[in-house]
């Protein structure tokens, strides 16, 4: 993984577009992380917690019924089986160790679906840190169980009432907090976005997904897969899966974005956006022709974000990965399909990737595919119930 360069660029994307006040702390983080990534004791400690606390390695499960149904060989990387129910814990553990080693006593986090908020609240207990989580009011309403979980874990959940009241606005508010309390606060960013070095740090901590999957599929099939498939919001589970396969040029990547309702109301930044600067990085952004960031929508709160990690923008422009959009309705179909065929209830985010298998099957019969099942669906049951009721 040679990228990003020293200035934090993945090709033309990334960088540090941040208010001046945050500069010293980004610099500090950069140098701490540079030391940590080479430090065997740090790596060992991270591995220890991944194994003994989060429950790694996760299994690579051959989805027999789904494979038969679609005419492909489908393997699910079961991140949903991790402690707290999603891949987010990988990154939170790594960054909490960093924050701890930097002597920070307080962490803040933004959250959409609440999965990152829950994982941040969890590691805050584990390492005895104070934790404030910013969450949009709309997301608080649609992800009540996760809000309750965070509260049980002792985190302070701060409702964000500005803008669209979703993940983007939670990020804005977290950044305002950070710029104010920069001397004692660590911002634990939950996805591969934000200013350098965050996209790199989050990718590195999440790349355990792809490293394990690569070894597992080689062990099981003695070959690499034809395709890797994962949902993309900010892009951390997908980048975690893709990055370790970067040099395996024959392995094709497909990032599945949230197509929302239609071409005008969605969260598919790469599919329907244009290059811009949001939350510290140059990347694809859903915006109008005057550079104002658009309101977004997805049935999956965790994908409901108008930007995307800069490394994905680089993958897009260099054609290393393909990006597609799957609509709300289709994601629900994916949700149902996996639940009924495999007895596995996926998070609505991951259900976007599951649905796309159906389309992929039409052009890639018998292909060997690894899909990242980034989270479990418990948090989404109310939403799915509502949608099902509406259709009656």
């Amino acid at each position: 993984m040679p990228l990003p360069n020293k200035k934090g660029y993945f090709g033309a994307f990334g960088g540090k577009f941040m208010p001046e006040t945050l500069f010293p702390c980004l610099h500090e983080l950069d140098s701490f992380y540079d030391k940590a990534r080479k430090d065997n004791a740090f790596k060992k400690e991270f591995q220890f917690y991944l194994k003994n606390y989060a429950g790694r390695p996760t299994i690579l499960y051959f989805a027999k019924n789904l494979s038969k149904h679609l005419g492909m060989k489908i393997y699910l990387k079961r991140e949903d089986l991790l402690h707290t129910g999603a891949h987010k814990i990988n990154n939170s553990l790594g960054q909490a160790l960093l924050a701890h080693s930097m002597g920070k006593k307080r962490i803040i986090a933004e959250t959409g679906a609440g999965q990152h908020g829950v994982s941040a609240a969890t590691v805050a207990r584990l390492f005895n840190l104070k934790c404030d989580v910013y969450m949009g009011e709309e997301d608080i309403a649609r992800q009540r169980m996760n809000v309750f979980r965070m509260k049980i874990l002792g985190a302070n959940v701060i409702a964000v009432k500005s803008g669209s009241k979703t993940l983007k606005d939670a990020c804005n508010e977290a950044m305002r907090d950070w710029v104010t309390n920069v001397r004692n606060t660590y911002y634990l960013i939950g996805s591969t976005f934000g200013p350098h070095p965050y996209p790199m740090i989050v990718r590195d901590f999440q790349s355990v997904i792809g490293k394990e999957a690569r070894a597992q599929i080689l062990r099981e099939k003695n070959r690499l897969p034809h395709f890797l498939l994962a949902c993309v919001g900010g892009g951390s589970n997908s980048m975690g899966l893709f990055a370790p396969f970067f040099k395996d040029r024959k392995v094709k990547f497909i990032g599945v974005e949230a197509g929302g309702m239609n071409k005008n109301l969605n969260s598919a930044s790469i599919s329907y956006g244009a290059v811009g600067v949001l939350h510290g990085a140059k990347t694809y952004v859903l915006q109008d022709r005057f550079g104002q960031v658009k309101a977004t929508h997805s049935i999956a709160a965790g994908l409901d974000y108008p930007g995307v990690g800069p490394e994905h923008s680089f993958y897009k422009n260099s054609k290393r990965s393909e990006y597609v959009a799957v609509k709300d309705k289709e994601a629900l179909e994916g949700f149902k399909m996996l639940s009924e065929l495999e007895g596995i209830i996926p998070a609505l985010e991951s259900a976007h990737a599951i649905y796309y298998l159906k389309k992929l099957a039409k052009r890639a019969r018998n292909a060997l595919v690894v899909v990242c099942l980034s989270g479990r669906g418990d948090k989404d049951l109310e939403i799915v119930q509502q949608c099902t009721d509406d259709h009656r």
Partner: protein, 262 residues
């Protein structure tokens, strides 16, 4: 219209400090901007910072967040900004600077944006989320179109970095009084005075202080060790609360005058 540099030369001769006022463009509506700018000019304001509303203002506190979001709802955009400025440029005598986030400029096209600024008679630009490290292209193009690039120094900026920022700056150096977002607050002068003293040893550029400034007393205290101060949120709040009054512009004039020591 004169440049910011020329304005400071003029102020220096008169042994005066700069009173810089911030208002968002298009707040409460696009048609208010002309009247508000002329009123500020007539109230003893030396330089006006005109804010470009942005959907995601991470550096702004609640007052400016609300105002800029109203401006956006009422149709403010970079296209009608330049239309408005071109219409009123003959009446504006004070130097103008645009205060913006980077994305609207980037989307407009940096070169094109500076060209439009130059044509509209705007002297300077402050881009909140564009640190010097990302600004080489921007600085080059600003020079080409004779735009003064104002950058920020903060209480946590190390001196060696501050020196680089000064080198990239034109017009003046904007010193952010506190770590935090824009908005009215108390300011502790001791640390501020020593930071700015150190900064001034390293530059001939004027240094102005912003974020939190909202009274005549603060203004006077800050100007003891700086070359001027910027008042933003306080004026924006006043506009928000009074713009529906019939004698709004007179009231605004009175208010703005009350912020400046004689």
């Amino acid at each position: 219209m004169i440049t910011i540099k020329e304005k400071f030369q003029q102020l220096k001769k008169e042994d005066k400090k700069a009173f810089v006022a911030y208002v968002p463009y298009g707040f409460p509506s696009v048609r208010h901007t002309k009247d508000i700018l002329l009123t500020l000019q007539g109230s003893g304001v030396d330089i006006v910072e005109l804010g470009i509303p942005f959907s995601d203002p991470v550096s702004d506190g609640p007052v400016i967040q609300e105002a800029t979001s109203i401006a956006l709802k009422n149709g403010a955009n970079t296209k009608n900004l330049f239309v408005t400025l071109n219409k009123i440029k003959k009446d504006i005598k004070v130097p103008l600077a645009l205060m913006t986030y980077y994305n609207p400029v980037f989307r407009f096209g940096i070169d094109n944006f500076f060209k439009s600024m130059n044509k509209a008679g705007v002297s300077g630009i402050l881009t909140v989320d564009l640190p010097i490290d990302e600004a080489s292209e921007y600085i080059k193009k600003a020079k080409k179109h004779k735009i003064e690039t104002i950058f920020f120094v903060t209480p946590v900026t190390p001196l060696d970095r501050a020196k680089k920022i000064i080198k990239a700056s034109g017009g003046f150096v904007y010193y952010i009084s506190v770590t935090g977002t824009t908005g009215v607050r108390e300011i502790s002068y001791e640390a501020l005075a020593s930071h700015i003293g150190q900064l001034k040893k390293n530059t001939t550029l004027p240094v102005c202080v912003g974020f939190g400034v909202h009274t005549k007393e603060q203004f006077a205290s800050i100007c003891k060790f700086s070359d001027g101060a910027i008042v933003g949120s306080a004026i924006v709040k006043f506009i928000k609360e009074n713009h529906k009054k019939r004698n709004f512009l007179d009231e605004l004039k009175k208010y703005v005058k009350s912020l400046k020591p004689n």
